[in-house]
Symmetry: C3
Subunit: 257 residues, 3 copies
């Protein structure tokens, strides 16, 4: 019983998601199809990469993850199947893999496409076929020709200099909680348990790490390490992103004594 | 083949729903996962209780219902597994059960949690595990220690005095139809088939019960007993909630002659 | 393993979708339920017809498609089960079939309903039962009495006169791409490979057909035949519908030399 997940910017109203699921079930009636999200911001690779990164490892190994955005731009680098950390990913080579993984993935093959074919719906017409072959047990090497490079996008990574960490906002969730790219391990390595100030927009600052959301009174700002071990700025029962006007890619500085 | 349903305020964009489904399938590959709603108003127990109450009994007995809201506030009463009416429910003890059931549930146990654990995502890390144990046939008593009390929220119930019923709006659906807490049985018991007036906002009133939406001309207001036997105020092909500015908890009075 | 799809205007927040899925799983635990869309514009038959038309053929033959909109108006023509192109459809007879199919469907039966029954939720209480009977292998003729007519809605079809095609907008997707009812075959038959102008709102016009979205620079308008072979007006990385203020039923003219 193979699991095929979908992460797209198709939205939930149109026929696109239904058409893709129908195509999967036509080729593999026993497929277990799981929506990760269809509400990725249109054409936003960074948004898709964050959401997939934070969810795919919950799935069993050998799960197959279809990524449906910027897939029409086949000229940007073709269609690829990637095997990494025990999972499979099928996408256009649009730069998403450089945001999804820290290192070059374990295996990458390029799917052959017939250029005479109408390719206006590649997720349904190309990606699903590859997914169903993998689900039936095909080895990734049978699906295409090996590739040794992928389109690179520069991920925003947190950096440290002396006793200062400079990071940025990588995601704002639907609660208005703000996720940063500052990991607990970098924080501890630079901080050496010294007192610190997390500097936010509008002269706001936080001077301690909480263990959970309810560690502060309602409406108060807090910082914690989320379940992925990344620094998160939140507000108990409130939207910290609106309150402080924090947006994607805004900078977050941690200054230790 | 166990059914696990999800009722949360996670929204449909973020990675939370995907992560929870992945965790379920990792522990129980054959699970049938059904979304009831992920668009519960953030932190709104009443909203979640209404939606779950109106849908869970459609599922087969022994279905397992995960409730994912206000679950981070573990201090408010811990995490519980409840068995009632032949169904299982897993939730934080946040008051939802007093809105979901008229009586104290049949069986309640409290899940043991390891406080040294990062508990910022309890639905994925605690609730799923309990759900999968139940799905494999574990008895509820094996999952935790019995509890004899649950957090109470005061549900709004309709009351009657003489020939008058005072009720309130308990839900407004996406069509703008207005659900009340006035049941057909209370209506018939107080009304004794006498003429009546349903008093609504803005001096509007309704003097009869229709059997279906199309019993009146388009754009006209009507009252009917919905499929759950509760009094519903609706408008044929229109949004009665906007028209009359009816909102959650607004009062609805029925006055019999 | 039967596939039952859902196309409704229920929205994704309320309890309606969950209740329908629960009812299906109660009657047929092995059912594979697929959401096509629950975000059909309220009461909009044309919207539902387009979305279902563009997706149902991706599903395997014998799939069962439940259509849940304008279903409460049972007086408009009763509830019907339709077999066409190897698929089954269950709906109120609200005119949708005249928009979904060019010809009268292969087989049509009317479901018997008990008028004493509360029929405020027919999708759950009537359609699901018919779907599960079909899924268990019942012949359509066993479900009701044959019908030789269905409610007609006038579909907007493209017409040609001399070297001019007059069509219209039949759908605007979430990317803002504009789908027309002008097919590639009509275009080629009338056009005879002559030069042409596609006339759009605001004096905009397009003089060539592209093979894919990235055939033009970013932000530029283009025309292509989509994966269903219909003329589509799009913009690379932009919303052509907003840019040109194109809406449902707006006219699109193609003028050949």
């Amino acid at each position: 019983m193979a699991i095929i997940t979908l992460t797209t910017d198709f939205g939930l109203k149109d026929h696109y998601v239904g058409a893709v699921k129908g195509a999967i079930l036509s080729q593999l009636p026993s497929a277990v199809i799981v929506d990760i999200s269809h509400l990725i911001e249109k054409f936003n690779i960074q948004d898709a990469a964050y959401i997939l990164k934070e969810s795919y490892q919950s799935f069993p190994e050998k799960s197959i993850h279809i990524i449906g955005l910027l897939s029409e731009f086949k000229n940007t680098g073709g269609y690829v199947v990637v095997e990494n950390n025990g999972h499979f990913f099928i996408s256009a080579d649009n730069g998403i893999f450089s945001l999804l993984f820290e290192e070059y993935p374990h295996k990458v093959v390029e799917l052959q496409v017939d250029n005479s074919q109408n390719l206006s719906f590649p997720v349904r017409d190309v990606f699903v076929k590859a997914a169903c072959l993998l689900a039936r047990g095909a080895d990734i090497s049978m699906l295409g020709t090996p590739r040794s490079s992928l389109l690179q996008r520069l991920p925003f990574r947190a950096t440290s200099m002396g006793n200062i960490i400079r990071g940025s906002v990588v995601f704002v969730d639907s609660y208005g909680n703000v996720m940063t790219n500052i990991s607990k391990s970098l924080f501890e390595q630079v901080g050496k348990k010294q007192p610190f100030v997390i500097e936010l927009a509008r002269s706001n600052q936080i001077e301690r790490i909480s263990s959970e959301y309810n560690a502060v009174p309602e409406g108060e700002i807090l910082a914690l390490f989320n379940s992925s071990g990344q620094l998160e700025i939140a507000m108990r029962n409130g939207k910290v992103s609106s309150m402080l006007n924090l947006k994607l890619n805004d900078s977050i500085t941690v200054r230790f004594q």
